[in-house]
């Protein structure tokens, strides 16, 4: 006799259905000897029991053999008992044993893999969100490239309708004519049909919607000293429209909303109007502002309008000591960096500039 005993449950013909507690042991001849704990039960002996993983989650070892009266099985399920059984088993069992011992681990691995995959599927929208946030600019550029000009104009109409609800828009009169005149020089050759509006609002602000809708607040018109100053601001806004900045922002917002809806269910009401509403109060990124400055400057130069007006206007806005910064500055942060850049660029430019044949004071007299 060698080896230590391992505890298990013995099942077989003539035994209770639930089995009886028994201990097993490998003897010197490599046979399995099973001794029931209950007195009065005979010892069983198996020459070459078949070994397999069995039971709930394959967590037990089943040693089964045939006797003349029927099939017997010893089920060993304690961790220590299983390893004792494996350690003392005769050589001819080793292959079956090794396979049986591996079974629970395989099961566990597959179980984890399965749940991992499920978790991945459930987390997909979250992952998408993160990827989108990391690549928002590239994705937005790609999508914006696919949007036709006609669609953009339709979006512009939506924004215009929204804006009309919020403020009074003037679409004729000397001020609008002055805007259209300057704007026309800046937007020569554009695919968009530009329309110019004056909003009766005291803030110093202006914005460009997709599809060529430009709205200038009366506060800005009255605070601009010369037509060149106004041209500078218009050039900046036109650049936003031409570079499709607001469209890009909207695509980003929509993508974000779609992903959020995927994550959290449909929380958006009317996606398009919602986006259009937010478009009117859109904040551009610093990069977009810098881009618009550069593009606006090119437009001024191309139209032979003096860019010094642009610099002067920004300088005056930045210098003015107001309790709250002008709206143009808060939405278009004219940081010192941007102003410095503009000064450097303009200083490098050589004239001659054609003066604009517009008397801004007279054109805006009705707004004062």
């Amino acid at each position: 006799m060698h080896g230590s005993q391992f505890q298990g449950r013995l099942f077989g013909p003539g035994l209770p259905g639930a089995g009886i507690a028994a201990s097993g042991q490998w003897d010197a001849l490599g046979r399995l000897r099973v001794t029931p704990h209950e007195s009065g039960q005979a010892e069983r002996c198996a020459d070459r029991p078949e070994i397999a993983a069995a039971g709930f989650n394959n967590a037990s070892l089943r040693l089964s053999w045939q006797q003349p009266e029927g099939a017997y099985a010893l089920v060993v399920d304690g961790v220590d008992d299983r390893s004792r059984c494996a350690a003392t088993a005769p050589e001819h069992c080793n292959r079956q044993l090794a396979a049986a011992v591996r079974q629970p681990d395989t099961l566990e691995r597959r179980f984890r893999l399965g749940w991992g995959l499920l978790a991945l599927v459930l987390l997909m929208p979250l992952l998408g969100l993160v990827l989108f946030l990391l690549n928002a600019d590239r994705v937005a550029d790609w999508v914006v490239d696919k949007i036709p000009v006609a669609q953009e104009a339709r979006l512009g109409e939506l924004v215009l309708a929204q804006t009309r609800l919020q403020m009074k828009l003037i679409d004729r009169g000397p001020a609008v004519e002055a805007l259209a005149d300057i704007g026309g020089r800046l937007t020569e050759g554009s695919v968009h049909r530009y329309r110019w509006f004056v909003a009766e609002r005291p803030e110093v602000n202006a914005f460009a919607a997709p599809g060529g809708v430009v709205v200038v607040f009366s506060g800005l018109l009255t605070s601009a000293a010369t037509a060149e100053e106004l041209a500078g601001v218009l050039a900046h806004e036109v650049a936003h429209a031409e570079l499709r900045h607001s469209l890009r922002g909207m695509v980003k917002g929509l993508g974000l909303r779609a992903l959020v809806a995927l994550l959290a269910g449909d929380i958006s009401d009317n996606v398009l109007t919602g986006a259009a509403t937010r478009l009117t109060e859109l904040r551009f990124s610093r990069d977009a502002e810098r881009e618009a400055d550069a593009n606006g400057l090119q437009r001024l130069v191309a139209a032979r309008i003096s860019p010094h007006g642009m610099v002067r206007f920004y300088e005056r806005l930045a210098a003015e000591q107001r309790p709250t910064p002008p709206a143009l500055l808060s939405t278009h942060p004219a940081s010192g960096e941007r102003l410095d850049w503009l000064r450097r660029e303009v200083a490098a430019l050589k004239g001659p500039w054609q003066p604009l044949p517009i008397n801004l004071q007279r054109a805006t007299v009705s707004l004062r």
């Binding site: 099942f11 639930a18 039971g55 709930f56 089943r62 099985a73």
Partner: protein
């Protein structure tokens, strides 16, 4: 672990309750809300978790309670102590038509794996745990879901399920194919797995679903004839007020496969 030995009587035929007799100082644990009546002298105490480990600290209790939440039972269990002088009785009723089966954990080796939500009551000292079904196929299509309940100890426990409950003995190597959802409990020595019904035609039109649950011996198993969800399905089908458009579960065309994943206790 010292278990309380309890005497019991199961009363009724199809809608049963079990009456447990407690000696002075003995206690039983019951699923919250299962108590039907109790005599004078029995003190009821509601504990967080399963009441088997009294001094395991807050974290242990929270963990135990979390497990119970997973198996679909309430966070609290109720312990019924006999504080009186003589024998006192307390009864626990089954929540829906079916049978109550007594299982002596001591006689089956100390562990019983059962359908979640099937525990009714037990002698104090029996611990309630969860047993994750780690075979993905069996978890998805076996009808019992991934979460099963594990009862450990060596006292009496009472398990309840729908319809008629039958105890069967599987000899070593004997295999029984069972309709999914009909397995109530089994000894841990029993293999629980699934098997494809065999033919596409049977899978779609046979009404037995795509898979059978297979139980391979040795060991004892307990089967129910009528899972509650099937009964509920039939009731809704014939209830005009509920709009009753439904099919028997098990058909690929009818009830969803996903129900099993998300843990319907069918």
């Amino acid at each position: 672990m010292a278990m309380d030995l309890i005497d019991y009587t199961i009363v009724g035929s199809e809608m049963q309750f079990v009456e447990v007799e407690l000696d002075p100082g003995e206690a039983a644990i019951g699923e919250a809300g299962a108590m039907m009546y109790m005599q004078d002298g029995i003190q009821m105490d509601t504990v967080f978790g399963d009441g088997s480990q009294q001094a395991s600290g807050l974290m242990g209790k929270l963990l135990g309670a979390g497990k119970r939440l997973l198996t679909g039972e309430s966070l609290f269990t109720t312990v019924f102590h006999n504080e009186g002088q003589g024998k006192r009785r307390v009864a626990f009723a089954a929540p829906y038509p079916g049978k109550i089966i007594p299982v002596d954990l001591g006689q089956i080796g100390g562990t019983l794996i059962c359908q979640k939500d099937s525990f009714l009551c037990a002698a104090k000292g029996v611990s309630l745990g969860i047993a994750f079904q780690k075979k993905l196929g069996a978890g998805l299509f076996g009808g019992e879901g991934f979460i099963m309940q594990r009862l450990d100890g060596d006292g009496m426990t009472f398990v309840h399920a729908g319809g008629t409950l039958q105890e069967q003995v599987l000899a070593p190597g004997e295999t029984l194919r069972v309709d999914t959802g009909c397995v109530v409990a089994f000894q841990p020595s029993v293999d629980f797995d699934i098997q494809f019904v065999g033919k596409i035609k049977s899978a779609i039109f046979g009404g037995e679903g795509l898979f059978f649950a297979t139980l391979r011996g040795p060991g004892k198993i307990w089967l129910q004839s009528l899972p509650l969800s099937r009964l509920a399905n039939r009731i809704i089908m014939s209830a005009p007020a509920a709009g009753g458009r439904s099919t028997d579960q098990g058909s690929l065309l009818g009830a969803g496969i996903l129900g099993g994943i998300l843990g319907s206790d069918d």
